[in-house]
């Protein structure tokens, strides 16, 4: 990417002040999270959460891990498009996407660490003598840990460039094809398994959501969410930094998102029909309402991106937001709303749980801002970009 005559400007730190009112607010949110976590580690999970034996998993799992990592799928989706499909035009967005993914996965890992009761034993997951290969969670945990390492290696060039370590960088480049390939396989594995995790819950998950198609539904919506995250992040970064929007690229990404959303909807309804539960979604009850909101959200990018209007930044931005929301809601519903272990149990996240989730998101944004200011993440500005797509 550094060769002269390359169509893309090299990535470079954008510089500028790190401490602004916005980043200060983020820092405050992170401090609140730290206080809540202090209480959690001193007094136990019950002190700061609304978790119970009826809802042993709350938003620290459903949001921070399941949704956080799905939005982090931006990394593998873009790497796949840029390197496996060889769409070099996408290189400018690879680095920010990988960075978001890295932070997203680190946050997911951190959240698991806060959530598991016996966190000091977490290393058992990596010890063969404790391994339990029938457990979907075992596969998910190993795979997410491995992928976080891969993301770090994919991120290394940015650090190596920063510190001028050209020799190491060159050696790493030679292996990069393998790392990129592993970095695509691992997320397809654990993102689909995050759906399979619900299979063992059996009839505790409502039949609208409980299906052997869960891994496929989770995987397809993950890729859609990853693409949406790139589009939203790309648009917001451009606006915030007053750079031209990578309109052409982002519009094309959302085209893929549109196809995935359509595929998701078709798979879902066909599956409901095959299993004989299509009638369930026409019975008035709260979960069915959630189902139809999800369906509307998945349908929005499909409808919105028909025809040439799909290239308009406002269009694909809204489509991306809806796609991301659709995937988020689908996961919250599948993990929490559709879960029912018997009468008498209630769950709504506590202030403590919300503070930690919000704090983690704030930390992620804060780290991203710092990274693009000091590391070569975004393309260097200076010469005018092609204005295509900004129209």
């Amino acid at each position: 990417m550094s060769a002269a005559g390359s169509p893309h400007p090299e990535p470079a730190p954008i510089g500028g002040r790190i401490w602004t009112p916005f980043t200060a607010v983020l820092a405050v949110l992170v401090i609140i999270m730290a206080v809540v976590l202090g209480l959690r580690f001193v007094h136990g999970i019950g002190r700061v959460t609304n978790l119970s034996d009826g809802y042993p998993w709350g938003i620290w799992i459903a949001w921070d891990v399941v949704i956080g990592s799905a939005l982090g799928a931006s990394g593998f989706t873009v790497a796949f498009i840029a390197y496996i499909l060889n769409r070099g035009a996408y290189h400018p967005i690879v680095r920010p996407a990988l960075l978001t993914a890295l932070f997203g996965y680190i946050m997911a890992g951190a959240s698991v660490f806060f959530d598991i009761g016996r966190y000091w034993e977490f290393w058992h997951i990596f010890m063969p003598r404790y391994a339990q290969v029938n457990s979907v969670l075992f596969e998910v945990a190993l795979c997410i840990a491995a992928y976080t390492m891969v993301l770090f290696i994919e991120f290394l060039p940015m650090l190596l460039e920063k510190f001028g370590m050209v020799g190491v960088r060159r050696k790493l480049d030679r292996l990069l094809f393998a790392i990129i390939a592993i970095g695509v396989v691992l997320p397809t594995m654990h993102q689909s398994s995050l759906g399979s995790m619900l299979l063992v819950f059996g009839p505790q998950i409502d039949p609208i959501y409980q299906t052997t198609l869960l891994p496929l539904l989770f995987l397809s919506s993950t890729v859609g969410m990853g693409l949406a995250a790139v589009v939203v992040e790309g648009s917001v970064t451009s606006l915030a930094l007053r750079r031209p929007v990578e309109g052409d690229l982002l519009a094309k990404l959302m085209r893929v998102g549109q196809i995935l959303a359509a595929a998701f909807l078709i798979a879902r309804f066909v599956d409901l029909g095959v299993r004989g539960h299509l009638g369930d979604v026409f019975v008035a009850r709260p979960l069915v309402l959630m189902f139809w909101i999800e369906t509307a959200l998945f349908a929005t990018p499909v409808v919105l991106l028909i025809g040439p209007a799909a290239r308009r930044p406002q269009r694909f931005f809204v489509a991306a937001m809806m796609m991301a929301l659709a995937g988020i809601l689908y996961r919250i519903d599948a993990y929490l709303v559709a879960y029912n272990t018997g009468a008498g149990w209630r769950y709504f996240p506590s202030m403590g749980e919300l503070s930690v989730t919000i704090g983690l998101i704030a930390l992620e944004i804060l780290l991203f801002i710092i990274a693009i200011r000091v590391l070569p993440v975004l393309p260097r500005m200076g010469r005018p970009r092609t204005a295509a797509g900004v129209a």
Partner: protein, 340 residues
């Protein structure tokens, strides 16, 4: 462009094939696990239970479980636990209707039931646990918990359809709690404390096959006639004489998610006792069949990895790349290995 289209098609085909494997392999599903021949369990006969809750106390003692105070609305009084929890492994609950004057009667009646681990033949908690902290004893079939291995993820709590494994949320050093059928006392020739102490034999310990035979014997007798019930454990000398109950047709635990080693007889329908309605297929069997179909010796993931690596290598190798079919920006972008 053609190349890319071909490539996309082949990749999509591969992905579809991988995705379809679990669907085509229904035949290879592992099916529900079978119960070990020497499996032991409990028979709880609700018609014999008098609600004394001696089993709850004995369970606390035998398992060193802390006391739990259920605050009452009035005054400085408290009562026994209302439900199993991180501190309580066994609870007797009562159904009541109307003036609750007739035992084991739906209308204006009352009935007792026991809440504790069902010791599933194919347990979801064992299938879920990522670190082998939940295990099923290959000989006795007892579902055991090893706190030394546990990481506290609570997947077992979420997975159990009987809502049995419980967690201690109020301590910084938590653990899972569940009935282990007093496996730790069996070395001393003892058995489940709840059965040992039961005055009427309502909770009875024994080999599951013998428990099933005892159920058949009770069902064959005319309701209301006097009979001799074994007390404590099956095959012992201790007995209790009483009338035969009027049982509902169903034995709870016979088929639920592939059967359980704790079996319930009742005089009132089980849905009134808050026992969940469950399918005969074990969710663990569905989950594991699908998971192992996808990760069948890692063949599919490794195949996928191999093809991706070849493509990435072709696209990323420096200079030597074959002439590019289409002069897209990508074509020139690859010289000097496009690192992210």
């Amino acid at each position: 462009m053609m190349d890319r289209r071909k490539l996309l098609t082949s990749l999509a085909g591969g992905a579809a094939a991988v995705a379809a494997t679990p669907l085509c392999r229904e035949a290879e599903a592992r099916g529900n696990h079978k119960m070990p021949g020497q499996a032991v369990g409990l028979l709880f006969d609700g018609t014999l239970c008098i609600g004394c809750r001696a089993c709850m106390t004995a369970c606390k003692d035998a398992n060193d479980m802390p006391a739990e105070h259920t605050e009452l609305a009035i005054g400085n009084y408290w009562d026994a636990p209302l439900d199993i929890s991180g501190k309580t492994l066994n609870v007797i609950k009562a159904y009541r209707d109307g003036d609750a004057t007739h035992k084991d009667q739906v209308k204006d009646g009352f009935a007792f039931t026991k809440v504790s681990c069902m010791h599933c033949v194919d347990p979801s908690c064992v299938s879920a646990c990522p670190v082998s902290a939940m295990t099923k004893d290959p000989r006795t079939g007892i579902v055991k918990y090893n706190v030394e291995a546990c990481i506290g993820c609570r997947y077992c709590v979420a997975a159990c359809p009987f809502n049995v494994p419980r967690f201690t949320y109020d301590t910084p050093f938590p653990k899972i709690s569940k009935c282990q059928l007093c496996a730790h006392r069996m070395g001393e020739g003892k058995y489940a404390a709840c059965a040992e102490v039961c005055p009427t034999g309502a909770t009875l310990f024994g080999p599951v096959l013998d428990l099933h035979a005892e159920i058949e014997r009770r069902r064959a007798l005319a309701p209301g006639t006097q009979t001799v019930f074994p007390r404590g454990k099956i095959g012992g000398t201790d007995t209790y004489e009483g009338p035969v109950g009027t049982y509902v047709e169903r034995t709870y635990g016979e088929h639920e998610i592939g059967g359980t080693q704790v079996l319930h007889l009742s005089g009132v329908p089980f849905e009134l006792l808050n026992k969940p309605e469950l399918p005969r297929v074990a969710p663990a069997s569905i989950s594991e069949s699908l998971q192992h179909a996808i990760y069948n010796n890692l063949i599919a993931p490794l195949g996928f990895l191999g093809s991706l690596a070849v493509l990435a290598w072709r696209n990323m190798r420096p200079k030597a790349a074959a002439p590019k079919p289409a002069p897209t920006p990508a074509a020139t972008d690859d010289d000097k290995a496009g690192a992210p």
